[in-house]
Symmetry: C2
Subunit: 344 residues, 2 copies
């Protein structure tokens, strides 16, 4: 059928593997028109599947004899385990066995395996890992989210890389969030056009002139949690530190909470009452719960699900991957970058 799409799942990756990824695959096989390629130890996968309702006509098992743990060093692990599930899955996807891959395993291993095995789109210079988080406005519009990219795949960026990240974010938000013309911001030290170094001022000019981009100008650190833009572009170093800073703030707040529990009755009550509010704040940093974090710039869709993902979260990531493949996210990225190149 015309909307048929296949997604590979790393059956051995994540805190709850193989149970959670296999359960996600079983559910998807029954409920969705998505073919699933389950990559991992066939014996283990079949044993897990045995206990679950599933539709074998939509499931394929691809054997991988090795697996990479969350605590392993990504580069060494990939060098020593050529048959690791994440590497086998990326190769299968590169060869066209599926249009995308979802893994809840080590971020570093996924980023490296994708970079090694899946070709970058024609014209793309660097890949970008995106953090997806709900914005304040999310309360009024159901699937409104913001994308921050890159958050660690490309440490330092040239102006052209930042422009390409803008096009990647534009394509992804257009397809997944269905915002017709996503607002794009450039993370900088201030809002004026002249802020930052030459890399930033040049990126500003390129984005302003870029066809098809709804560029709203520079945004600042305090704009990140506010949702002033649908897509915020920055180099990987700054995206990584900012995101972890937000995590640290949430941790600090929780720490205050623990302190409160030991000390002040008023604080203790306050934290109990605020539980749902805190969960909402925490969602800012638990971006991978929202269908996973896309790693963009490749010929196939690559989605990192949170390490703690259960079957439901992995299933959501698979649905998002399928939606992105059906919506032609990679082709859109390639098309807009080619259009920008022809422009001059």
């Amino acid at each position: 059928m015309s909307d048929s799409v296949a997604i590979a799942i790393d059956a051995m990756g994540g805190d709850h593997a193989p149970r959670a990824p296999v359960e996600a695959a079983a559910r998807i096989s029954r409920e969705k028109k998505i073919d699933v390629l389950l990559v991992g130890d066939p014996e283990v996968i079949r044993r897990e599947l045995g206990a679950l309702e599933h539709d074998m006509s939509r499931l394929t098992i691809r054997a991988a004899t090795q697996a990479i743990g969350m605590a392993e060093k990504p580069r060494e692990a990939l060098d020593q385990k050529p048959d690791a599930s994440i590497a086998v899955a990326c190769r299968a996807v590169a060869e066209g066995a599926a249009g995308g891959i979802v893994s809840a395993g080590s971020t570093g291993a996924l980023v490296l395996a994708a970079a090694r095995h899946i070709p970058l789109l024609e014209g793309v210079k660097r890949a970008a890992l995106a953090a997806v988080y709900p914005t304040r406005e999310r309360r009024t519009s159901n699937d409104r989210f913001a994308l921050l990219l890159d958050v660690g795949a490309t440490v330092r960026c040239q102006s052209e890389h930042l422009l390409q990240f803008a096009y990647m974010g534009h394509a992804y938000a257009s397809v997944i969030s269905k915002v017709p013309s996503p607002a794009i911001g450039l993370l900088n030290l201030g809002s004026e056009e002249t802020k930052g170094d030459e890399i930033l001022t040049t990126a500003y000019r390129m984005m302003k002139e870029a066809p098809g981009l709804n560029f709203i100008g520079n945004v600042e650190g305090n704009d990140l949690p506010k949702g002033v833009a649908d897509v915020i572009v920055c180099e990987g170093f700054i995206g990584n530190v900012s995101l972890k800073m937000a995590e640290g703030m949430v941790e600090t707040f929780k720490h205050l909470g623990e302190y409160a529990f030991k000390n002040k009755l008023a604080w203790k009550l306050g934290f109990l009452l605020l539980h749902s509010g805190l969960k909402q704040l925490k969602a800012l940093t638990d971006y991978q719960e929202y269908g996973g974090a896309p790693f963009l710039g490749f010929e196939r869709m690559v989605i990192k699900a949170h390490g703690r993902s259960g079957a439901r979260a992995i299933g959501n990531a698979v649905k998002v991957a399928a939606k992105a493949v059906r919506g032609g996210v990679p082709e859109r990225i390639r098309g807009s970058i080619a259009q920008f190149a022809r422009r001059g």
Copy 2:
């Protein structure tokens, strides 16, 4: 007397100028062995002083006919107003009329005026604006704080600049916080020595080998609010974005609070009960309340007090500036940088 020290105050800078800076000067003149050079419109200063108890033997007025507002563009304003209080004060300090300057005016104007008029210390390549914030441990140790530098004065840094920022933070924390050997961290994407680009790995090596530095290695974004180090070093771009990100998180939480007030009774109660806890979290981003933010690397002490500062906060900044001058912060920075240069 031997511990005599003079500090210049920008009498026209800040949301509550001239009242707050003049009141701070009046109090200091009565209570502390600190001479104050009040820079601004003499008529206005004398009128404010008229209503306040003060010791004129410790006060000197230096005339400046112009002033720069908080909303003015710093570069244009300084070019058009050569007799602005902030410029006059920086020139007076450079000429030796005082050992340091405190301003609650525009950060941009202070940073530019200091850079134009006060010489960098011998050997120092770039200046660094530091954010000062209390750490979690602060509850057990009274004046424990952490320093994050640079937060916006030097957008991009070479490895040597980062090393010099480490020495600046070391000197300031040693003198003001009285931590004998402050722990120094390098902000990076991960804790391993090999993380980041060449600028970061080289800075890591230099700090590890630097005589007199208690370098604890790389720290990550989520370590910033935790107080894992007394001094955390980074380039201005990343320091600026991280700090503003933290401000944005606090704003978002307050926004959740407002939402709660309109909607859920339980949340409303929770926020009321948590008031003092929230204030503690907010202190993370209100760094300038803690004696101001030092702008380091110059032959004189330069301290930026928060724009909202009242007389008490400006007074605290003046005391900190005097303590830094007495403790020889600039000389310590020059000495350690010279020692590092001789090392090779």
